[in-house]
């Protein structure tokens, strides 16, 4: 489908009497792109440049007179502050755990849904639903309705089994946040992996089956290699969204009990502590972390993208 558009565009068939100069035509081609491009640069790139500049200043909004250039001092402070270092670690743990678990569960669900069975469409819909609950609402649901130690559903069900009645959020705060995020992100992974499964070469699989390959052999040697790129894509896109997670941490624990991740810490350090310089330095560090992930993500997306272009 893309091949139809790649080749012949350059040879525009229209020839008017007074042909506009090549440069003018190039600008005419570019014109529809410019509003979007300029808008994006203004709204996303300029603020980041400002963040970078502010990160080199000592600047507390409550004492604006004391603003002064401090070079890398904010970075030194951010990197040596135990609370901030802890939030870096929390971010890594939270992201890795949520991405890995939802990827594995998502793969299992995708494999189950790839086979025909009665009511498959309905089950798919049921599975997608958690992803379509507003994140704050989902966090409230887990906090009050499921985790509540006195009347939450979990302890209510445990009651029937005669089990203990733990205070989930206080006992295992990070795990509590992670579980709620896994519930929301597993459908996302499932959707991507299901699309991957459905793009397999079914003739090849049939041929392997005829040759006597077992289900496990087919999964191990045909399905898994094919899914590799989709697994990578799911992991990377998931990481990009979950590294930035604010809603769940804010709602479930308000950053308490050692669950404050970097976005929450940045929010807190300028919104509550008014430390503009420190907040900016922490923000720049989040960006550096994201760039590392994003470089890999861009590579995966671009390889899928090129494959798509060349296949068509």
């Amino acid at each position: 489908m893309i091949a139809t558009t790649t080749a012949p565009v350059a040879t525009a068939p229209v020839r008017t009497a007074h042909r506009p100069s090549a440069r003018l035509r190039a600008w005419a081609t570019r014109a529809p792109l410019l509003p979007a491009l300029i808008f994006m640069i203004a709204v996303t790139q300029l603020p980041f440049v400002a963040t970078l500049v502010i990160s080199f200043f000592h600047w507390n909004a409550l004492y604006p007179k004391a603003r002064r250039f401090t070079g890398l001092d904010n970075y030194r402070q951010v990197l040596t502050d135990p609370a901030l270092r802890h939030s870096v670690w929390t971010t890594v743990l939270l992201t890795a755990a949520v991405v890995l678990v939802s990827l594995v569960v998502g793969l299992a669900l995708a494999l189950l849904l790839d086979r025909p069975f009665r009511g498959r469409g309905l089950v798919r819909t049921l599975l997608i639903a958690p992803f379509l609950v507003v994140p704050v609402a989902a966090a409230l649901l887990w906090k009050h309705v499921l985790y509540n130690p006195e009347y939450g559903l979990f302890n209510g069900l445990l009651h029937y089994l005669g089990g203990p009645q733990p205070d989930w959020i206080s006992n295992t705060p990070l795990l509590a946040v992670e579980a709620s995020l896994v519930w929301q992100w597993t459908p996302f992974m499932m959707l991507i992996l299901l699309a991957g499964l459905q793009s397999r070469d079914h003739q090849q699989i049939e041929a392997a089956r005829v040759d006597g390959a077992s289900d496990w052999q087919i999964f191990r040697h045909l399905t898994l290699p094919h899914l590799r790129r989709y697994l990578e894509l799911g992991a990377l896109l998931g990481s990009i969204y979950i590294v930035q997670n604010f809603d769940a941490v804010f709602t479930l624990t308000s950053g308490g009990l050692g669950t404050a991740n970097l976005p929450y810490t940045v929010y807190q350090s300028f919104y509550q502590a008014h430390e503009n310089g420190l907040a900016s330095a922490a923000g720049v560090l989040v960006v550096i972390g994201s760039i590392v992930i994003a470089t890999f993500a861009l590579r995966v997306v671009s390889s899928l993208f090129r494959e798509e272009v060349s296949r068509a």
């Binding site: 529809p32 409230l140 499921l146 699309a195 929010y267 994201s290």
Partner: protein
């Protein structure tokens, strides 16, 4: 294949189908429980063990909508609607021509431009939050819904450009060239030739942008107050427990999630493509 093998395979198939059903119901259970609780009275909602068969009432919904006093959610719902709908329209207005220049009548180095859009999506929101806050404060735009419209437009534009360029690339060039020979100008070509073919894709893109805008919390939390507060910010009012309020929380969460659930199910087929920025079809 022997009939025994077929029977074994089909019996295992039934088992796996049941397993899939079980997983689906397990994932849906919290939502089903939330819906059931929202129709219980507050006293029945907060029991241990849970009262599954308690009588149903609309009290939670009446409470949420502020019938018996308390803050009304309507201003927040209206703000969210304005921010999501207007920003989605702005996104379409900017993304459609851009996607055209990246798929139909391509600029040079169009892949580089595409990847620039994608890279902005990977810049964390917190990286620009402080300057935007300071700018809004100095420009007197704090607590102003139009600021959110601008920010949500920038948040969704890259996704929309990626999705739409992949949809527009499916429009045959021959049709466009024919229109050009007939003397049609760009706006006419876009409206009469390109849009109809790409319409289902454009609709899905719009729904996904709507979902992301409706869900957004961080910008709204930092940049709005009493006037421009959105629905997710309204929900944060329920973070600290207020005595017996489970039915009300469930009603609020459900009502505020309904537009997203509706939009998500409507866009179900294109959801993966949108969420993976067009990389997976």
């Amino acid at each position: 294949m022997s009939s025994v093998a077929v029977r074994v395979r089909s019996r295992r198939g039934v088992g796996l189908g049941l397993l899939a059903w079980l997983a689906g119901l397990l994932f849906f259970l919290p939502i089903a429980w939330m819906a059931l609780t929202s129709f219980h009275s507050e006293a029945d909602a907060a029991t241990n063990p849970p009262s599954f068969g308690a009588s149903l009432t609309l009290a939670g919904y009446r409470d949420f909508f502020g019938v018996g006093g308390g803050a009304s959610p309507w201003p927040a719902l209206i703000n969210s609607t304005v921010a999501s709908v207007v920003s989605t329209l702005c996104v379409l207005l900017l993304a459609l021509p851009a996607a055209y220049a990246l798929s139909v009548r391509r600029v040079r180095k169009w892949t580089d431009v595409l990847f620039f859009f994608l890279s902005t999506k990977m810049l964390p929101v917190v990286a620009g939050l402080l300057p935007i806050y300071l700018f809004a404060k100095n420009a007197g735009m704090l607590d102003n819904i139009w600021l959110l419209v601008i920010l949500y437009t920038s948040m969704n534009l890259p996704i929309a450009v990626w999705m739409m360029q992949s949809f527009l690339a499916e429009v045959p060039v021959a049709v466009i060239e024919a229109a050009q020979i007939d003397g049609a100008r760009l706006p006419t070509i876009l409206a009469r030739v390109v849009a109809p073919i790409a319409l289902p894709g454009i609709a899905a893109t719009a729904l996904i942008c709507f979902i992301f805008s409706w869900n957004e919390l961080l910008f709204a939390r930092v940049l709005t107050g009493v006037v421009a507060e959105t629905a997710p910010v309204f929900l944060t009012g329920f973070i600290t427990s207020q005595g017996l309020f489970l039915a009300k929380v469930c009603a609020a969460s459900l009502v505020i999630s309904l537009p997203v659930l509706a939009a998500g199910f409507a866009a179900q087929d294109k959801l993966v493509q949108g969420l993976s920025l067009g990389a997976v079809k």
